[in-house]
């Protein structure tokens, strides 16, 4: 199964593009790849919750509702060259950028060869050196500065890397966001900052988080374009991402993209969202689910048919089953290794390039 854009492009070559694909400058196969990535992410994510309820994974934080935006926005990045600086909801972003379902599941089970942290961090703190996906921490918005620094180094070194970083609209009120975007604006750094605005920071609604309706309105204050995009519209996100990536790569500077998304689950497995969101609101959030929407769009455009759909569904089921079973079967971290990697000089981490996880 081709789970990534670059693979897909290589495989499909110059296949004839349908109308929809042509309109956005992609091939049908690429559209199918996007769809498969979104569906795969959803399936992986749903599996996390099942594992959580089964008592196998004590904590889940998920990206349900955000997947369309993440796949669309990251689709144009160059894997193995560009950088992704994600946050805890970035399941689809990291899958789009090269991580595998197995690697995600290793993090859920906190296994020793988990490339994100070797089981040291909570699930949701993705990272992978071999994919240029920076290790995620918990304090929000700190990564905006890391992304800016990575972009600065790329500029100094004369490499045409583009850095994409993501955070929530709540996190975007942190000082680090301001300091980072200001610096990116001054030096016109190749960094694309994505605010995934799902209307809540845990329980706190956006009106109590942010003084303005659109976080993107702040972009002007940093001398960069601010783009609001419907996160349930995968192709709109793709276009916005592509343009921002193009600008960054061409040396035209940073972009702030705000994707309006919906959080389909509680904040995490520790949260009861019915306490602060009404039933109607929760129901209306479902209408903004990118997965069925994209599915209909592709079906209406004749890109996706029953056969594709069932093939993809079967491949995804197999991939998620495989990832779950395989990851669960891996050994837990050995406490004898717990003191390693505080400073340089310890033996290389077993997960660093673990082929089995690929």
């Amino acid at each position: 199964m081709a789970t990534t854009a670059a693979d897909a492009r290589a495989a499909v070559g110059d296949a004839p593009a349908g109308d929809l694909a042509a309109k956005v400058g992609l091939t049908d196969q690429q559209l199918l790849d996007m769809y498969a990535l979104i569906a795969l992410t959803r399936a992986v994510d749903e599996r996390m919750w099942i594992l959580n309820r089964a008592g196998k994974v004590p904590f889940v934080i998920s990206g349900q509702g955000h997947e369309g935006a993440q796949v669309g926005l990251a689709f144009e990045l160059r894997k193995g060259h560009d950088w992704m600086v994600p946050f805890y909801r970035s399941v689809a972003s990291v899958l789009t950028f090269g991580m595998t379902a197995r690697e995600i599941m290793l993090a859920q089970f906190a296994r020793s060869i988990d490339p994100s942290s070797g089981g040291r961090q909570m699930p949701g703190h993705y990272g992978a050196a071999r994919h240029n996906i920076l290790s995620t921490s918990s304090p929000v918005a700190t990564q905006v500065l890391h992304a800016v620094g990575i972009a600065l180094a790329a500029k100094i070194r004369g490499i045409d890397q583009v850095v994409m970083t993501s955070l929530g609209e709540g996190a975007s009120n942190q000082g680090d966001f301001h300091e980072g975007l200001n610096f990116a604006g001054i030096h016109r750094l190749p960094v694309v900052t994505v605010v995934e605005n799902n209307g809540y920071a845990i329980s706190v609604p956006a009106r109590l988080q942010t003084a303005v309706e659109d976080v993107a309105d702040r972009a002007g204050g940093y001398a960069m374009p601010g783009v609001v995009v419907d996160g349930a519209d995968v192709l709109a996100c793709y276009r916005a991402g592509r343009e921002a990536i193009r600008r960054a790569r061409a040396g035209e500077g940073p972009t702030l993209i705000e994707a309006k998304v919906t959080r389909l689950t509680g904040h995490s497995s520790d949260d009861q969202q019915t306490k602060y969101r009404s039933a109607e609101e929760l129901a209306s959030g479902k209408d903004r689910d990118p997965l069925p929407r994209f599915r209909s769009q592709l079906r209406d455009a004749g890109v996706l048919d029953d056969e594709h759909e069932s093939t993809i569904a079967a491949e995804i089921k197999a991939a998620v089953d495989d990832a779950t079973d395989w990851a669960e079967a891996q050994p837990e971290p050995d406490p004898a290794t717990a003191e390693r990697h505080v400073y340089a000089g310890d033996p290389p981490d077993p997960s660093a390039g673990q082929p089995g996880a690929g």
């Binding site: 089981g119 909570m122 929000v140 329980s203 109590l208 306490k275 971290p333 717990a338 505080v342």
Partner: protein, 327 residues
């Protein structure tokens, strides 16, 4: 006497203080409708409304910085930092501003506020939801630092903190929230800041601890009793200002001290206690001041096995006590 959990004691004390004194307000992330991620402020929003129970943006520096302004202008804020691990964005506001306002203004401005923050490991929270951060603040003149370990003390110390005229950091151990229950009188008692508590008298070794470790120290004292060792346990409760008298009296009596803290050892809070005892009780010491503390890694790892490896437990404490008793 009513029996309450640790978190119930905190919640009820917040409510009572807000009823008693209209100048007390609560602010922080998710403290409103949700009632806080641990439900420490549950019900306050319904009773006192959004004017006095304020859901802030996800911005810790603002939470503390605004609390400074609020306190300067006549109110008594009780800001909540959702996890102690996330107090660092507010470090500058706490250490450079709140702690120094009184001193730098030569006593003409002050910041009466109580910063509540859940801390500590053993809850499967990994590097960023398990930390002990007290050592960063106990070093700072101008701040007070409180760590209750029982529902009784949680209530009595929270009362004293809210009524205190200086900035207080009030660290609540997450693992105690629901696991510890105890008698808590309905009366308006308070536990004064700056007084340690001898929670178990003994004669041969003094165990000094706080937070979760205050419980583990008691368990360790039980364990060594089987070996015929009489351990005295002191719950420090207020880390700054420290009750040096109670500590010194105990160690002068027992001649031996084990200091327990959950945080990594090097430069942790227990280092100060050890240094103090080594300097001021030297003539009474019959064995080395011994520390039992966390390992030198940057945080509590997530995986169960790694977390167990990290955490100090009653057995490790008991082992140190036995070794020292036999010295």
């Amino acid at each position: 006497m009513p029996v309450r959990t640790y978190i119930e004691a905190i919640r009820e004390t917040l409510r009572e203080e807000m009823r008693r004194d209209a100048s007390v307000i609560v602010l922080g992330e998710d403290v409103g409708k949700k009632g806080g991620v641990f439900l420490a402020t549950d019900g306050l929003y319904d009773e006192f409304g959004e004017g006095r129970v304020i859901d802030t943006p996800l911005t810790e520096s603002l939470i503390i910085g605004a609390s400074i302004g609020v306190s300067v202008n006549g109110l008594r804020p009780v800001p909540e930092i959702q996890f102690a691990d996330f107090i660092f964005p507010a470090f500058n506001q706490i250490v450079s501003e709140a702690a120094r306002m009184r001193y730098r203004s030569n006593g003409t401005f002050s910041c009466p506020m109580t910063i509540r923050a859940p801390f500590g490991g053993g809850v499967h929270g990994a590097l960023y939801h398990s930390q002990s951060v007290e050592a960063f603040f106990t070093h700072v003149p101008g701040l007070k630092v409180v760590v209750p370990s029982t529902p009784y003390d949680a209530r009595g110390l929270l009362r004293s903190s809210i009524r205190d005229d200086d900035p207080v950091l009030f660290f609540e151990h997450k693992k105690l929230y629901r696991s510890v229950r105890g008698e808590v009188p309905d009366s308006d008692y308070s536990v004064p800041l700056g007084r340690a508590n001898i929670t178990r008298p003994g004669t041969q070794v003094t165990i000094v601890a706080y937070g979760l470790m205050a419980h583990y120290a008691l368990e360790a004292a039980e364990l060594v009793e089987a070996d015929g060792i009489s351990a005295e346990v002191i719950d420090v409760r207020t880390l700054r200002p420290l009750d040096t008298e109670t500590l010194l009296d105990s160690v002068k009596k027992t001649g031996k001290a084990v200091i327990v803290y959950e945080d990594n050892r090097f430069g942790g809070y227990g280092a100060e206690i050890a240094a103090l005892l080594a300097e001021e009780a030297f003539d009474y010491l019959d064995g080395p001041v011994t520390r039992v503390a966390g390992p030198e890694v940057p945080g509590v790892p997530y995986s169960h096995g790694l977390e167990d490896w990290f955490m100090v437990d009653p057995d490790r404490i008991a082992e140190a006590v036995r070794r020292l008793a036999a010295y």
